[in-house]
């Protein structure tokens, strides 16, 4: 069992500690393992450290502890490679989509990986295809609705062919229809996923495994079904049953 795990380990965080420059301690020894194909929800109250943890996984934040992505240890030198493997999608799509057109935004990742022009174009097309938005190729980013932007945002990291998709609050701010479209998309994508969310119905529907964080620590990591039934535990950590 252990061997299997190490071979297709996608994320391996060991005892991660981190404090912000202003002194605020955000992570107190976080350890987490994800294997290929895992679909994991990350839940917890605001300030629990979810975003902080995610920002460590592609090296934007630099804490104390071991981080391995796809079996490769995260160091300053191999940051570019790591970042191509970790597809991090931020909560606010206006931060994620910073180019004038959809095409340029989705092309940004593969372009900065140094790929040749034809390859970049091919990747853009396949990423847009994967999120079912091929017709949006030449659209102007500021014309899109929130739901459309969120799906394009996913495409902007898919074009790098990452090993894992990490999403921060993907369903926040979406109307029911856009939310349903997003859920269907996430269900279909055959890629390892770590999704931070407050949307417990989303967790119940899509993610067999849930990691609960509170106050900079992981307080529970196990099957979603079990966790969602433990109402007292949920309330203790600022969560509600869906």
């Amino acid at each position: 069992m252990m061997d299997n795990h190490t071979h297709n380990s996608v994320v391996n965080v060991s005892d991660l500690h981190f404090s912000y420059p202003d002194g605020h301690a955000a992570l107190h020894g976080v350890s987490l393992k994800l294997c290929a194909g895992d679909k994991v929800a990350l839940v917890g109250p605001n300030g629990a450290g979810k975003s902080t943890l995610m920002l460590h996984l592609n090296g934007i934040l630099d804490g104390d502890g071991g981080i391995e992505i796809g079996g490769m240890r995260l160091t300053r030198d191999n940051l570019p490679v790591i970042r191509a493997m970790v597809g991090l999608v931020f909560q606010n799509p206006d931060d994620q989509l910073f180019s004038p057109t959809v095409f340029e935004d989705v092309a940004f990742g593969p372009l900065h990986m140094g790929l040749p022009e034809e390859e970049v174009i091919a990747r853009v097309d396949s990423a847009l295809e994967a999120v079912r938005m091929s017709t949006y190729r030449d659209r102007l980013s500021h014309h899109l609705s929130v739901g459309e932007k969120k799906r394009i945002a996913i495409a902007t990291v898919l074009s790098m062919n990452p090993k894992i998709l990490i999403l921060d609050e993907p369903s926040a701010g979406l109307d029911p229809r856009a939310r349903r479209t997003l859920i269907n998309l996430l269900r279909e994508l055959p890629i390892t996923m770590l999704v931070s969310t407050h949307d417990m119905r989303l967790v119940e529907e899509l993610f067999p495994r849930t990691v609960v964080m509170d106050d900079g620590r992981i307080v529970r990591d196990g099957p979603t079904q079990d966790i969602l039934e433990d109402e007292r535990f949920l309330n203790e950590h600022g969560l509600e049953k869906p």
């Binding site: 592609n58 934007i60 206006d94 004038p100 900065h112």
Partner: protein, 263 residues
């Protein structure tokens, strides 16, 4: 509903719309340059230039009056040139008294004034057509192809992308300010100019900080997608031969205008 205010692009499928953006930018600049080089009173050349504008407008499929309707935007600036009516020596056309001055409009002055206004009026129409028939990101690409330094075109790209986001924020702030700008009956409201300026300044300061913090988040998003400090852009534009033909013909016409203007 807000973004339309800043979108000068009018969608279409005309030949002008599909013309390579580099050609369009070059021809527009050449046209404006040609106007600047035409001497005062070169009526035939001015008329040819106007025909050029009309022809281009027709080619855009946006309606023959499209640029005409929008061309008066620079007219207030014509005031700057008014003094030229009186200051260039020549045969007097008419005299009148204005406040404490005796003013005489001369023929040379009139010629000069009208020429300035016409040049400006023609040039602005071409500029209007350029952005009406070309999506702005394509214009940015054309600028990059034409060797404008990448850092400037990238800043322009960001400006364009976040213009709408930020002006939304400004409008929200202005609406909030309006909502709080009540008046009690019988009391003169509004505060002093200095106070109003302070509020405006605070709004600017707040907008600045939000923008600064947003730029941090955008920077993180760029890092997450592999940005290492070096700017890379991709603009797959393939021009067709007919684009070059149209461009070449246009330059030729401009040359003819120059010749017409000097004889």
């Amino acid at each position: 509903m807000h973004s339309d205010l800043f979108d000068r692009y009018h969608h279409g499928h005309s030949r002008l719309h599909h013309l390579d953006p580099r050609v369009k930018v070059i021809v527009t600049l050449a046209f404006i340059l040609s106007n600047a080089l035409l001497p005062d009173g070169a009526w035939i050349a001015f008329a040819l230039a106007w025909l050029f504008v009309i022809f281009a407008t027709l080619m855009s499929g946006l309606g023959i009056g499209f640029t005409f309707k929008r061309s008066f935007i620079a007219f207030p600036f014509a005031l700057a040139a008014i003094t030229v009516l009186f200051s260039i020596p020549g045969q007097p056309v008419t005299s009148f008294r204005f406040l404490m001055w005796d003013l005489t409009i001369t023929d040379a002055g009139l010629l000069r004034f009208v020429s300035i206004v016409i040049r400006s009026w023609l040039s602005v129409q071409m500029a209007i057509l350029l952005v009406a028939a070309t999506e702005f990101p394509k214009i940015i690409h054309a600028l990059t192809h034409l060797r404008v330094p990448i850092i400037i075109t990238v800043i322009i790209s960001f400006l364009y992308r976040y213009l709408f986001v930020l002006t939304d924020e400004v409008m929200r702030m202005l609406r909030a300010r309006q909502a709080r700008s009540g008046a009690a009956p019988g009391v003169r409201s509004g505060g002093s100019v200095a106070w109003r300026a302070r509020i405006a300044g605070h709004m600017a300061g707040q907008l600045f900080l939000r923008s600064y913090e947003r730029s941090d988040r955008v920077y993180n998003a760029m890092l997450a997608r592999g940005y290492k400090g070096e700017l890379m852009t991709i603009h797959p534009h393939r021009y067709q031969k007919s684009d070059l033909v149209i461009g070449g013909l246009s330059i030729l016409v401009l040359f003819m205008m120059q010749i017409a203007g000097r004889f």
